[in-house]
């Protein structure tokens, strides 16, 4: 009884936050509601025991989305006026939203009541995967191609962001050049937090082989503290044409692809023989973490642009 009371309260608050984020006229208020929404979503994931997803949502929601949206808000300047949408557009959006909602409800109705999915099969084969966390086993071994393609998608997204750079901006540093008072609150915070963040990020990547965690969650934490050092004006983002940067970005998907090709000797593409599965997965996770973290930092900072004179 109390458990359902808790779940219902979370759902009501989630709906309120979502409504407030999309219906409000105030851009800033909408952003703040969206940040709180992310927090509640990660609590909701915990309630259904999806700790890996909750970790990813907490890291992305708290560390990246808020910074991205508030950064965009800060650069909008006087352009911050939400024009009233024409009635027709609102009506179409309402109908489309209700349609998608109905489709999802219909799909949920169609699921088997005790829908265990493939959980039993995964747990039965866990031994062969080389790792102890079933989520990591699925992401990096049983369905490794999903993660391989995802890491490439992130890279393609970055190329997309970079491709909107202006002609004069190309070859410069991504985003605006940040500065802060020397020795001020922001700089002190920017020196203090990354030390802890590095430890927690590395811990989460390492924990991924036996429990919740992994390259994406740990990489996001590392990206967030790296962005903090840039926001605090302590470190300048590297120029987009820097050679080491390019190598570091492709290193993760590259090593993953290389190990996948080595699998051809063991039988097929992406096959890890049981004896080498653990070291192979940990090696991929570590290299992938670096590439993911760097890609996320550059995605949040935006396209390179010319520094103001």
């Amino acid at each position: 009884m109390i458990a359902s009371g808790f779940d219902i309260t979370v759902c009501v608050l989630l709906c309120l936050c979502a409504l407030a984020a999309v219906t409000g006229r105030d851009t800033f208020r909408a952003i703040v509601f969206f940040i709180v929404y992310g927090l509640l979503i990660s609590v909701a994931w915990l309630r259904i025991d999806a700790i890996d997803v909750a970790l990813a949502e907490a890291a992305i929601g708290a560390g990246l989305t808020g910074v991205l949206l508030l950064g965009a808000f800060g650069q909008m300047g006087s352009a911050d006026t939400m024009a009233r949408e024409p009635r027709g557009a609102v009506l179409i959006a309402l109908v489309a939203g209700a349609g998608i909602g109905a489709a999802v409800l219909f799909a949920v109705q169609g699921l088997p009541p005790e829908g265990a999915g493939l959980t039993a099969e995964v747990l039965a084969q866990l031994e062969a995967s080389g790792v102890g966390n079933p989520v990591t086993a699925v992401l990096l071994n049983f369905r490794g191609y999903d993660t391989l393609l995802e890491s490439i998608v992130l890279l393609v997204a970055l190329i997309g962001v970079w491709s909107v750079a202006s002609e004069t901006g190309w070859g410069e540093r991504p985003g605006i050049v940040h500065h802060a008072r020397a020795g001020g609150t922001l700089q002190s915070f920017g020196r203090f937090l990354p030390a802890i963040g590095l430890v927690i990020g590395a811990y989460i990547v390492w924990a991924g082989s036996s429990g919740p965690g992994g390259a994406f969650q740990g990489g996001t934490v590392l990206a967030a503290v790296a962005i903090l050092t840039i926001l605090a004006g302590l470190v300048d983002a590297p120029r987009v044409t820097t050679r080491w940067l390019r190598w570091a970005l492709v290193m993760g998907p590259g090593v993953f692809l290389g190990v996948a090709l080595l699998g051809l000797f063991g039988g097929a593409f992406l096959v890890f023989p049981q004896a080498v599965a653990y070291p192979a997965i940990v090696a991929i996770e570590i290299v992938l973490t670096a590439s993911i973290a760097l890609t996320l930092v550059l995605l949040v900072l935006g396209p390179p642009r010319e520094a103001p004179q």
Binding site: T9, L55, G63, I176, H178, I200
Partner: protein
């Protein structure tokens, strides 16, 4: 035992709802941001409660990440308050 934890969790959710009211009303951007920071604190408490209720202590890692990163939104907010989003309000005090 787990029910007791969840009952406390509902209490925490209600305090979070109180902060949501402040996010809605404002009136200043700073009020909304501080209320959001308050929900971050309530969120960490909720994660700890859920970990205790389920006995799955791996959940604590989520609280760890939230505690580490919740302040980042406040940093971004402070940056957004400077003229072109690049500076730091503390610099303006000096000039």
């Amino acid at each position: 035992m787990s029910d007791w934890y969840l009952a406390i969790g509902i209490g925490l959710l209600l305090t979070l709802a109180g902060a949501l009211f402040r996010v809605w009303r404002g009136p200043d951007a700073a009020d909304r941001m501080m209320a959001a920071q308050l929900t971050g604190t309530a969120g960490i408490a909720l994660v700890v409660i859920l970990a205790a209720a389920s006995g799955d202590w791996a959940m604590l890692d989520v609280g760890l990440v939230l505690a580490l990163l919740a302040a980042l939104a406040a940093v971004a907010f402070v940056k957004a308050a400077s003229p072109n989003g690049a500076g730091d309000p503390e610099e303006d005090d000096l000039s």
